[in-house]
């Protein structure tokens, strides 16, 4: 189903800008939980879909942003290629649209079937939970999501070659291109990765793609978390074909990927035990945060409308994503942790605020599973974004059916009270690490440069953007 909605979407954005109406960009809905809730009328972009060009020998694919991620992965898999940043789908169903990997049968190395990466798919398909993924290309890039391969293959941002987008004025603009090297103009295409739609509505995205490695093999090591972090870093400094390394609190898992000779040589060097089960399902569960570790908390809340209040389930601690320098020491005081990205990601459930801890360790934190925003926080940005933020935020946080949230009940009574409440709400609703003031100010100016009236996904990352 191919459809070009450029004109319709641009007209919608232009009219919203003219009237100062906030827009909530909506693709497949799989990542609504992955940020602050947005107050605004939906701008439905999922219908703008279809692969526009795919040249395997150029290593480039261009597709409309609403194209299902699974459709893209299937097209690449047919030609033995993939998205090397291993994007998570985070589809509510947890399912994935990726088709079984069709390796050329004549080109198969002599690896036992149990270790072939395409074998995992059959087991995965049998998962009763599996339904088609709703993840789209646009949402994947807008959220800047990368999977376990990130430290070894690069981030989503690294694979973006160009975009076409609608800015906050309803103008259709193209940045970057479909070639690997391009330094003409500011790199606004890579800037869109992780901007969560707050700087533009993605229309088309061109990505660099890579050949899928011929062989994958997962090794298991009996290591403590601290020792695993040390080893992951040491191994990453050696010429080994490592494509993922994690620790689930019990054991360390290292995935090798490459041609058969390279994988075999690395296996001989590293030792460990070959993963006995379905390694592909294991890594998929890590990537999609469906490993049992992540089930302990409240990570996967359904998407929230901005009026429904908090997704926080009493008794379940929020899931924190600590993005740290990869060799940062293990902190046992944080309790059980899932370590991914070769040490550069530490996932932990915690009731405590971990912002300052993450900063002190040289990184930053994100807090998932607590994705609420009140309309007041949405309007707290001030400045150019005020009109739009307020326009989209119509009713109080404690609207019918929503659980009460400590610190947000009741309307403010006077400026002092409002001020105090904003502070509490900004703290409570924060999903992403607060920025230092000068950097936040620059973010606001940049937002205003692309979206002068602040109508695109206002408040999605920070109340001020």
């Amino acid at each position: 189903m191919n459809q070009d909605l450029t004109q319709t979407l641009a007209a919608q954005v232009a009219s919203a800008q003219a009237e100062g109406r906030a827009l909530r960009i909506q693709g497949g809905g799989s990542k609504t939980w992955l940020g602050r809730a947005v107050c605004g009328e939906p701008l439905t972009v999922g219908g703008h879909r279809g692969i526009l060009s795919y040249e395997p020998t150029e290593l480039v694919i261009t597709a409309r942003a609403g194209t299902p991620l699974g459709e893209i992965q299937a097209a690449l898999a047919e030609r033995g290629q993939w998205l090397a940043f291993e994007p998570p789908h985070f589809s509510p169903a947890g399912g994935l649209g990726d088709e079984p990997f069709k390796a050329d049968p004549d080109d198969r190395p002599s690896i036992p079937d149990s270790q072939r990466h395409h074998q995992g798919f059959a087991a995965f398909k049998a998962d009763p939970d599996n339904r088609p993924s709703t993840a789209t290309l646009g949402g994947t890039i807008a959220c800047g999501l990368s999977g376990p391969a990130r430290p070894y293959s690069g981030a989503a941002r690294d694979f973006v070659l160009g975009v076409r987008l609608i800015n906050g004025k309803g103008e259709v603009l193209r940045f970057g291109g479909e070639v690997m090297k391009n330094v003409a103009g500011y790199d606004l295409s890579r800037l869109m990765a992780g901007a969560q739609g707050t700087l533009g509505v993605l229309l088309d995205v061109s990505l660099k793609v890579l050949p899928r490695p011929a062989v994958e093999l997962t090794l298991v090591f009996d290591l403590s978390p601290a020792e695993a972090i040390r080893r992951f870093n040491q191994w990453a400094g050696q010429p080994l074909p490592i494509s993922a390394a994690c620790h689930d609190g019990e054991r360390a898992y290292v995935r090798l990927a490459g041609n058969e000779a390279a994988v075999r040589a690395a296996q001989a060097r590293l030792g460990g035990e070959v993963f006995a089960g379905d390694a592909e399902s294991f890594w998929r569960a890590v990537r999609e945060l469906r490993h049992p570790f992540f089930r302990q908390g409240s990570a996967h809340q359904p998407g929230l409308a901005c009026q429904t209040g908090t997704a926080y389930q009493p008794g379940a601690a929020p899931l924190w994503r600590l993005s740290l320098p990869p060799a940062a020491p293990h902190d046992p005081a944080l309790g059980p942790q899932f370590i991914d990205w070769g040490g550069a990601l530490r996932w932990v459930h915690s009731e405590d605020s971990l912002w300052s801890l993450a900063r002190a360790a040289g990184g930053h934190a994100s807090r998932y599973g607590l994705a609420f925003v009140s309309q007041d926080a949405g309007a707290a940005g001030g400045g150019e974004a005020d009109a739009a933020g307020a326009a989209g935020a119509a009713s109080p946080a404690s609207a019918s059916g929503a659980p009460d949230v400590p610190g947000t009940q009741g309307p403010g009574a006077g400026p002092d009270r409002t001020k105090a409440r904003e502070t509490v709400e900004m703290t409570d609703s924060a999903v992403f690490q607060p920025l230092p003031p000068a950097l936040l100010a620059l973010h606001r100016r940049l937002k205003a440069a692309l979206d002068p009236r602040g109508i695109l996904n206002p408040g999605r990352i920070y109340p001020e953007l």
Binding site: T57, D158, M180, P239, P325, L440
Partner: protein, 505 residues
Amino acid sequence: MKLTMTTDPHTNHDHGGPGNSDRQAELVAGLLAILPAAQVLHETEDLRPYECDGLSAYRQLPLAVALPDSADQVQAILKLCHRLQVPVVARGAGTGLSAGALPHPEGLLLSLARLKAILHIDPLARTARVQPGVRNLAISEAARAHGLYYAPDPSSQIACTIGGNVAENSGGVHCLKYGLTVHNLLRLEVITMDGERLTLGAEALDAPGYDLMALMTGSEGLLGVVVEITVRLLPLPERAQVLLAAYDDIGQAGAAVGAIIAAGIIPAGLEMMDNPAIRAAEAFVHAGYPTQAAAILLCELDGANEEVSQEILRVRQILLDSGATEVRTARDEAERLLFWKGRKAAFPAVGRLSPDYYCMDGTIPRRRLPEVLARIAEMSAAYGLPVANVFHAGDGNLHPLILYDANRPGELERTEELGGKILELCVEVGGTITGEHGVGTEKIDQMCVQFHPLELTQFHAVKAAFDPAGLLNPAKAVPTLHRCAEFGAMHVHANQLKFPDLPRF
């Protein structure tokens, strides 16, 4: 770049308009309050070495040159210039090829060459924290003891600085596999024009908020001044091996590149040279290149020992199957280096054939290569100016080298016109006007061809978010709409020219 000439249309020996001597005195007095006198230059003979970068066809003296040796001094200088509303052009080693570090006649030239400390190498986390004036190759040299290196390797890596690499998002021979500068950075310390010091990126693999590190990379000194850089280091590959393949037909060579990639192999380096470039290189370095070949391909594979052994056989077969008349595998490290020596010396080798040459830097979708080379040959004939082509074949980055003689009246102008047409051709086939050298001053008119006025307007708005007064590297990288109107450029996008069937030169 070898561009020396007697009559130079881009040279300006003035210090700008009247009143500039007062401006200069005020600026120098302010600088002397920040820096020792030896680090402030303002006499004409002292300014002369800074009048151009690697593209010496463009020359301009600044009001003054500042040579700070700390980030704090850079910050104080920017605050001073912000207060005085004096333009600032930052400069590293001055090896850039697009006149991006061309001084401003009413501005300060801010040299970062003295900020050249390698501050810290963390072998476990595989990072190096360095100052912007550190040379690209010096990072790899310092990391080698730990079995690590910094991957991006622009051909000027002996001299060019990492700060300049960040400003230009430099590439190199190995970027198909190992990425550009932006892919090998973790964190930047940046000072904005108003003197605010910011940290962009992190030593973690991502950072909260917008990816301003990516935006800053390749911004050609227009958004901020980088005073500290944390780069990612990679393990040195166990082994590298190179193949040389000769072709009678350049189209076959292009097809071979596609066939290697279709086989699932990403070579560490994949370079192509056409016959004029082969002959020039061979005459210069005697690498044993087949001088009758229409094109040669150099294909380097790296990785684990066993892996390279396996892949080299596969690539060899692909090259033979694609019609190579000859395929050689370097027998040893000495021969591998010799194969590369010819390619790395291609620019100076071509320079020996002609008094001057002009290096272009377009990128095209690789499949359009035969067509683009044919059209370049047509244009070369029409202008009567020979062109040799060196091609980063893996990533589509084409460097046509136009041979000319600047002492012949009008030849530089015709060379620049031909260069402009080649870049417009790159845009027309879906490529870009610059793959790795930057827009700078040189390609600013072609920006009008690649981008729509609304897109240029968006760039200016982004610039204003960082530098509202437009004091950092003015008149570079992004043209004003007024300039585009004067240039009379037509924005073309991927074959959407009017009357695409008309022959064009």
